[in-house]
């Protein structure tokens, strides 16, 4: 990346969701009650910059807060603390009416191509809705624009009057993308845009997203759990765990040299469609599950499962620091190799000679 103009910046963005309890009691039962409203710590004080023209991949497992962060940046969920700036302008405190003009520049592509299109609307209506909302052009001009958009995303412009159910999953995702780029936005949050699609269709959509980025100079925040897909499409990758940003680096660097133990485990867990690589691979098998975001562990959120954990990890939260140029991580022992519990590192499956 030569261009380092910041398009979106988050500073200390925190999103907490209060849990609605069925019965409010004045006294304490278990961990709840007694006037303390439990909250889901979905996103905890995330500092992130998205540069103009880049694709920033955001990975993490379910419950890591990656989707919530993406939505918070678009002001689709309220932030509890922190500020979000878009093109240098603080948009955190804008009212609903004030934020509306910004929506032209910030769009979203959703995961589910079935649920995100209204089954009672034709493609023409779906794709022209954003044009309508911002009063762009008359009916005839809008129709021409919709046809142009369909052509851009690789759909037959003649299908303009069809309904979503007449399209396959991949085609529906193309409709969703056409809607997202209808207003020529600058920034698109793509939330798991290919995970609901068949394997042979995913590549079509990924290539389309890349092509649109080149053509229209889009900036993407690409949220996904499939690490191979994220590596392919992203310039930089951010890893989240339990609402916290744990590592951020250029894509190639992240996959070649992950510093945070969680990222290391995550990278080693990716099943590779390559039997020889699978046989040679060293696996880090983490113990247990991700803790509940209602009651996250103190200090470093990963210390309960970490194979490098020392007493300090449960006492002092590690700072999110630049460990190498452009490579950030939040770990006390990121640059200390060798502190491992060897029982969790699985040796390669077999030292078979590779076939010719």
């Amino acid at each position: 990346m030569t261009n380092h103009n910041t398009l979106v910046e988050t500073q200390g963005v925190t999103v907490h969701f209060p849990i609605k309890l069925g019965l409010q009691l004045p006294f304490k039962i278990g961990p709840y009650g007694g006037g303390v409203r439990p909250v889901v710590h979905a996103v905890n004080s995330v500092n992130l910059r998205v540069y103009e023209g880049e694709t920033l991949g955001l990975v993490g497992e379910s419950g890591s807060g990656k989707t919530t962060l993406g939505r918070a940046i678009l002001r689709l969920v309220p932030t509890t603390a922190g500020t979000i700036t878009f093109e240098g302008k603080d948009i955190t405190s804008l009212s609903g009416r004030q934020v509306r003009p910004m929506r032209r520049d910030m769009q979203m592509v959703f995961q589910d191509p079935y649920g995100s299109l209204n089954p009672r609307m034709t493609v023409a209506q779906i794709v022209s809705e954003p044009l309508d909302n911002f009063g762009m052009g008359n009916k005839k001009e809008q129709r021409a624009r919709v046809q142009e958009l369909l052509k851009i995303v690789g759909l037959n412009p003649g299908h303009i009057n069809r309904y979503p159910h007449e399209f396959s999953g991949g085609q529906r995702q193309r409709v969703g993308i056409a809607r997202a780029i209808a207003l020529n936005p600058k920034f698109v949050v793509a939330d798991e845009p290919v995970s609901a699609l068949d394997v042979s269709i995913q590549a079509q959509i990924l290539n389309l997203l890349e092509q649109l980025q080149q053509e229209f100079g889009l900036t993407y925040l690409f949220v996904a759990h499939n690490l191979s897909v994220v590596r392919h499409i992203s310039d930089r990758v951010a890893v989240m765990y339990l609402g916290n940003l744990v590592e951020l680096a250029e894509s190639v660097e992240m996959y070649a040299n992950p510093l945070h133990p969680y990222s290391q485990a995550l990278m080693s867990a990716i099943p590779m469609p390559d039997p020889i690589a699978e046989r040679k691979k060293q696996r880090i098998i983490l113990k247990g599950d991700m803790p509940s975001p209602v009651n996250p562990p103190p200090a470093c959120p990963f210390h309960t499962r970490c194979f490098k954990a020392r007493p300090i990890c449960s006492e002092v939260a590690p700072a999110f620091e630049e460990k190498a140029p452009g490579h950030w991580a939040a770990c006390h022992f990121a640059d200390v190799p060798g502190i491992t519990r060897p029982d969790e590192i699985k040796p390669p499956l077999a030292a078979e000679p590779s076939p010719s």
């Binding site: 497992e61 042979s200 269709i201 590549a203 392919h232 867990a269 990716i270 469609p273 696996r283 599950d289």
Partner: protein, 363 residues
Amino acid sequence: MSQATEEHRAQHTPEADRNGDHLLLVENLRTYFYTRAGVVKAVQGVSFHLDKGETLGIVGESGSGKSVTAMSIMRLIPQPPGRYDGGCVLFRGVPLIDIREQPGRDGRTQRIDRSAPESHMRSIRGGDISMIFQDPMTSLNPLLTVGKQIAETVQEHMHCGRKEAYDRAFEMLDKVGIPSARARLKDYPHQFSGGMRQRVMIAIALSTNPDLLIADEPTTALDVTIQAQILDLMRGLSSEFGSSVILITHDLGVVAGLADRVAVMYAGYIVETGKLDDIFYRAQHPYTHMLLRSIPRLDMDREDRLIPIPGSPPDMLRLPPGCPFAARCPNVREICRQQMPPLDPIGAGHLAACWNPVKEEAA
């Protein structure tokens, strides 16, 4: 094996001979669904075999018929709308499904069904053949404790008492890596996380020492690090228990790490099958070849564009004649649109159904 099984096998010596050494032999299996919208030929003439201790990966996209194949082996297809329209499934020489057609005296074709009786299937399901399903959230009974659900299976198939069954349940939970297993026998499924529930499913499946384990997308609903835990567990268990495994998945990475042999399915057919390395490094069917090139890999350059397969999978209600992949295939010829190619050998244990296979690439 129960006595009924022995008797049943005795009546079927010709098939038993054909079975050879294979634990499971599926021949020309056809499973169709007769729906109001039309006939869905979900599995159209699938043949494969599985030997003892082997892991066979069946890969394909949604709608390719991989799950229906698995359900057919267990005879779990709801009838109607489903129907086994032909072929046989021989498990240790016993025909679980054996349906053929032959001309009757009146000149019309007659359907002859020599499949094992339902009573035999009951002893097979969960006993000799076990299955793990994709969704650990819905495949466990929420009203029964986990211990009860394992013990129930053990009591039914291993004909032992309650105490013994619960001991076995504890042993299994412990083996699949659930901490403080003895105490957790009394817990209900909702008290377990997704990964833990899948471990419980595996414990139930292996509690009867099955000869064959069918795992249908066992890790699809799980997160990456939890998937790694479960795959690691399955790798260890199949070697410890000596079970044969049929692993059904759409994830080529999962297959690459676990299977010995692979069958690739497309629109109800096996289009290519062979040893793991044959499929991944010497694929000859254009679908397999292109599929492997369309997925992002960790070892490719960031600048490399993916090469997508054009078009989309066919509508199973309106399958065109000939090869179902013809419409998306770069190697398509005239004959492809008229006639389905047979699954022919192209190497040792490597078969492909294609009129115009991909030429061997320089390695």
